[in-house]
């Protein structure tokens, strides 16, 4: 192991911070389910059945947009964590 750059130790403090982050994230995701997914489900089903071409071109932007949004949220949570450590 490199003595100049030792491996950080996994502590209870880190674990509790990770769990807190997961809890905040879970609350966000639950809200997201109810407000977005449940509203989208029937529209997507209709489009899937009746307009397959539209469904095809909706799928990719949807997952990419969600990835970008959630990445922002997680990055925000991480920055918050770093701020707390400082």
């Amino acid at each position: 192991m490199d003595k100049r750059n030792p491996r950080p130790r996994f502590s209870l403090k880190i674990l509790s911070w990770v769990l807190l982050k997961i809890a905040v994230y879970a609350a966000f995701v639950t809200t997201y389910y109810f407000f977005v997914l449940l509203l989208l489900a029937h529209w997507l089903k209709d489009v899937f059945v009746a307009h397959r071409a539209v469904y095809t071109f909706v799928t990719l932007p949807l997952i990419i947009a969600q990835a970008a949004l959630l990445d922002l949220v997680v990055t925000g949570l991480r920055k918050l964590g770093q701020g707390k450590k400082k």
């Binding site: 950080p8 997961i22 989208l40 899937f48 997952i63 970008a68």
Partner: protein, 312 residues
């Protein structure tokens, strides 16, 4: 919750938790996780054609942010990535057409499940063999530093049991020959690159996910690309194969985007946690720890085939 597109009935919390664990393992081991995501979706009662298409959509979401990180670190060989697109896209389409064929003429669930089992067992066995050999080589190298085995270390310093194989591929004269300065490959046949890309795409289109289990070793051992560039370039290719695969499978009616969205929500935080954990648990034996994962995926499919799909 009913997922009306595929007709599957899955608890969204179970789906998000599965996504979380797959994301965490993926972040920890640096892989996409389709070797577990596919079997898990099949276990939850999703038909195999939807497993393939939905996993492709799920993997696009996961790869976008990871590829962005690797792009910032300069780990993507864009020249190689763009050249590979010419092989990846026809490969994905061949895989998607094969799914359509089996949907019409055979039992798509069983055909894809057996193909999945074969691939996962092969990947697990290969990784075990390669990791053991590399570990043994590293130990021998440490014991006798003056007796450096040149053929077992690639030009970019990666220690690998199969580094010599790429050198033999590089001397194949099959025009047009390509230079890949970013990857440190002076001359390689374009056809070899296209062949590697085609097979990566084929696995991706037929079994879903990014097929990193086949493309990553191919980039390192066949093309001779350094591991860190291979990881970034593979992610770039996963976006191409996943993006095209999502479109073509969605058009063919094989994508349940709602399942992909729910699973991805758990995957994002899992991936970040997994990447954080590597700071605390890294070590040379980490690749050996990866070996049971594809085998666990194979076991899950075998269980589902034997005892029926879990619904609820």
């Amino acid at each position: 919750m009913d997922f009306p597109i595929s007709g599957a009935h899955i608890n969204p919390v179970a789906l998000a938790v599965t996504g979380f664990f797959i994301g965490m393992l993926g972040g920890f081991f640096g892989v996409g996780g389709s070797f577990l995501a596919g079997p898990a979706l099949f276990f939850f009662g999703v038909p195999m054609n939807f497993v393939v298409g939905t996993d492709l959509a799920h993997i696009v979401g996961k790869s976008v942010s990871a590829a962005r990180q690797h792009s910032k670190l300069g780990n993507i060989d864009f020249k190689l990535g763009v050249l590979m697109m010419a092989g990846t896209i026809p490969g994905v389409e061949t895989g998607a057409q094969a799914i359509e064929y089996f949907k019409r003429h055979a039992n798509v669930n069983q055909v894809v499940a057996f193909a999945f089992i074969g691939v996962l067992i092969s990947v697990g066995a290969f990784m075990a063999w390669e990791s053991f050999r590399t570990l043994r080589m590293s130990r021998r190298e440490r014991r006798d530093k003056s007796h450096m085995i040149g053929a077992q270390r690639s030009g970019n310093g990666d220690v690998s049991a199969l580094a010599g194989f790429a050198k033999r591929i590089h001397v194949l004269e099959l025009a047009p020959m390509i230079n890949l300065p970013k990857s440190g490959v002076k001359r390689i046949s374009l056809w070899i690159i296209l062949l590697v890309a085609y097979f990566g795409g084929l696995f991706s289109g037929f079994l879903g996910g990014g097929a990193g289990y086949i493309r990553m070793p191919s980039l390192v051992y066949i093309l001779g690309v350094p591991t860190h560039i291979a990881v970034g370039t593979d992610l770039f290719e996963v976006i191409i194969s996943g993006g095209y695969g999502t479109l073509t499978h969605a058009f063919k009616g094989n994508v349940d985007i709602l399942i992909a969205l729910v699973m991805h929500t758990g995957g994002v935080i899992g991936a970040h946690l997994g990447a954080t954990l590597t700071n605390y648990f890294r070590g040379p034996r980490i690749r050996l720890a990866f070996v049971p994962l594809p085998l666990a995926g194979a076991a899950l499919i075998i269980y589902t085939l034997m005892f029926g799909r879990h619904v609820g």
